[in-house]
């Protein structure tokens, strides 16, 4: 169960942290005026301050106003069912490469929902990898990552 208030607060903290990082990082580049004009850290500094101040405002505003629950258990579950496999898919790309990762992802998604015959998920998985290969490697000449597994096999 997530309330609007905690979601608002979490978002404001993320944006605020980003703003703070921008401020700190901009100081390395020099701020203010030099012989060459406005120094390159000035603009990021201003932007960072705006982000930080805006985030603080949103934090307070969100904390005071948004009290209702906006993410119930069932919504949370559905989100997890989408996001966790997607994150795993992205996470394993450096290990096993794009093609096996995409094939496993499609296979997993279909097998999970269909329960029963595995023929369709297997075919869909092979089809997905093949479609990617034809589309990118062949048509656009973009080489997709092979991963550690690919290197090991010598691709």
């Amino acid at each position: 169960m997530v309330s609007g208030r905690s979601l608002e607060a979490a978002t404001a903290l993320i944006t605020g942290a980003f703003g703070a990082a921008v401020i700190v990082s901009s100081l390395d580049n020099g701020i203010g005026w030099s012989a060459a004009g406005v120094e390159s850290g000035t603009f990021p500094l201003i932007v960072g301050l705006v982000i930080l101040a805006g985030s603080l405002f949103n934090l307070v505003q969100g904390w005071l106003q948004a009290r209702a629950v906006i993410l119930g258990p069932s919504e949370f579950r559905r989100l997890a069912i989408l996001f966790v496999p997607a994150a795993v898919f992205v996470g394993v790309i450096p290990l096993i490469g794009m093609y096996p990762a995409a094939a496993l992802y499609v296979f997993g998604a279909l097998a999970w929902h269909r329960r029963g015959s595995l023929l369709v998920p297997v075919l869909a998985a092979i089809g997905a990898a093949l479609a990617l290969y034809l589309m990118f490697e062949k048509t656009f000449q973009i080489s997709l990552p092979r991963g550690a597994l690919g290197t090991w096999f010598g691709f």
């Binding site: 406005v38 989408l82 998604a109 997709l144």
Partner: protein, 502 residues
């Protein structure tokens, strides 16, 4: 009548077999991304970008802009038939479009939507034809301070008129600016904001941001809201289409008003989404049949659709003539222009006449092609909505991942894309607008350069922004727009509220 001549020349370019073919492909792909939740015009256009690198710029822009028109139309199809807006800008179409379709008149609802949309787009294109080259001519005399003032005006109008909470818009905009600054500083050549990651020197590509924010983010919103696809008959009765289109002029006043709102919101980057909501709200307030709104009132479809398409089309006016995109999709297209080696802005009208007028002519044709194709393909794309979501979702995730990776063959971009996805979800959920962020990534550097060049000219005095009448007017106008929300709120407090906007 120099413009008309140039337009005729443009038709000569746009009316080739090759370009008509690209229009058809673009529109069909556009309808596809418009119909699918999670994919929209901004990521559709970003995905197509790598395809266009080998093309002539004019062919490339015809393909991309046709996709945009297709996506605008496709979004309305699902709004009306399934009560699921395929695009954020067609949310307002669900208010009356779906009830009308549910009550057994899906053809009437679709025809009303497409007819009004086409009218709105036409008004937008006519405006571009008449005004774009004039604006460009004025802008040729602009120096850095004027440019900065125009950028300021654009960003201020987002905050003042975008319809989202102003401080949230400001944060979204500023994050975009910060991301634009990542990498090598174009003025001094020093490296900025890499946060200790060497690879960040190449900067954050707007394509990566768009894939995450609009792709993964929207997908998460879509699964969370678990949709129930209740199929309404998607058969199109041609006689009814004809009857509806002939009857449209009786909403003439609503059409004109909505198109005007759309054009205004498109040129000052309020964007199509804000335009359609605003137009719907105003139509409801002014209509004598107010009580019927939300139950299938034709004007409730006319107003958002005409405004949506007028805004979508006229968003290209400032992109072409000033180099400031009026919507997220226009921002992506402008990114494409820069990749093709064109410099968006007034010089386009001098140096790239074929490109500019070919594009403008193709906008007339592209919208005609879009109306015809969308009517012909409604049943096919409606059938697509019955494909279970658990199949569509992995496909979209894979497309976005590969799309982000292919920008510069970098896995870091894929990680960033997932990060943007989470941010996009949070932002959507909490009503932070996404378009300003994308816009700021694309033109942040230019705005900063304009500011720093102005400062060099004035030796560090801000007085340069108040030195000449034009620049002062622009800055003051921007400041006024910035204060709009506060002014509205004050007025709202003084007057008793009689009704609530939908």
């Amino acid at each position: 009548m120099e413009n008309l001549e140039a337009l005729m020349h443009g038709f000569g370019i746009a009316l080739s077999g090759n370009h008509i073919f690209l229009m058809v492909i673009g529109v069909l792909l556009g309808i596809l991304v418009g119909v699918l939740p999670g994919l929209g015009a901004p990521n559709g256009v970003s995905l197509l970008l790598p395809l266009t690198f080998g093309m002539q710029p004019v062919s490339a822009i015809i393909l991309l802009s046709s996709m945009y028109w297709g996506a605008l139309f496709g979004g309305s199809v699902t709004s009306i038939l399934f009560n699921i807006p395929g695009e954020p800008s067609s949310v307002a179409t669900t208010f009356d479009g779906y009830p009308m379709a549910r009550d057994g008149r899906p053809t009437t609802a679709l025809a009303t939507a497409f007819g009004s949309a086409a009218f709105g787009a036409l008004v937008g294109v006519v405006l571009i034809t008449l005004a774009a080259s004039w604006v460009a001519q004025v802008a040729l005399a602009f120096g850095p301070p004027e440019y900065f003032a125009v950028y300021f005006l654009a960003f201020a109008s987002f905050i003042g008129m975008g319809g989202s909470p102003p401080i949230k818009t400001l944060v979204s905009l500023a994050i975009g600016f910060a991301l634009a600054a990542v990498g090598i500083d174009t003025v001094s050549g020093s490296v900025r904001l890499t946060m200790g990651i060497d690879e960040m020197v190449k900067g954050v590509s707007f394509v990566v941001a768009v894939m995450g924010l609009f792709g993964i983010g929207e997908l998460m919103i879509a699964v969370e809201e678990e949709f129930h696809v209740k199929a309404i008959s998607s058969k199109v009765e041609w006689r009814e289409v004809f009857r509806t289109l002939v009857g449209l002029p009786k909403h003439g006043w609503a059409l004109l008003r909505s198109a005007a709102i759309g054009c205004w919101m498109g040129i000052t980057p309020g964007g199509p989404t804000a335009a359609s909501f605003m137009s719907y709200g105003i139509a409801k307030r002014l209509s004598p049949r107010r009580a019927n709104f939300g139950k299938g009132e034709p004007e409730g479809i006319v107003a958002p659709e005409a405004a949506d398409h007028a805004a979508g089309t006229s968003a290209l006016l400032p992109m072409l003539s000033l180099g400031i995109p009026g919507s997220a999709t226009a921002a992506v297209m402008m990114g494409g222009l820069m990749i093709w080696g064109l410099n968006p802005g007034p010089m386009l009208f001098v140096e790239q006449k074929d490109f500019v007028w070919g594009l403008i002519a193709s906008m007339y044709l592209g919208n005609v092609v879009a109306v015809v194709l969308v009517l012909l393909t409604v049943p096919i794309f409606a059938a697509l909505m019955r494909v279970p979501f658990f199949i569509i979702a992995p496909v979209i995730v894979i497309i976005c991942t590969v799309g982000a990776y292919s920008v510069s063959n970098s896995y870091l971009d894929v990680m960033l894309m997932m990060g943007f996805g989470v941010l996009g979800y949070l932002f959507k959920k909490l009503h932070y607008p996404l378009a300003p962020l994308v816009l700021a990534i694309v033109i942040g550097d230019k705005a900063e350069d304009a500011f720093r060049q102005s400062m060099l000219m004035s030796k560090g005095s801000l007085g340069i922004f108040f030195a000449k009448p034009l620049v002062t007017t622009l800055i003051l106008l921007g400041a006024a727009l910035l204060l709009m929300p506060t002014i509205w709120r004050t007025i709202g407090r003084m007057m008793p509220r009689s009704e609530v906007k939908p």
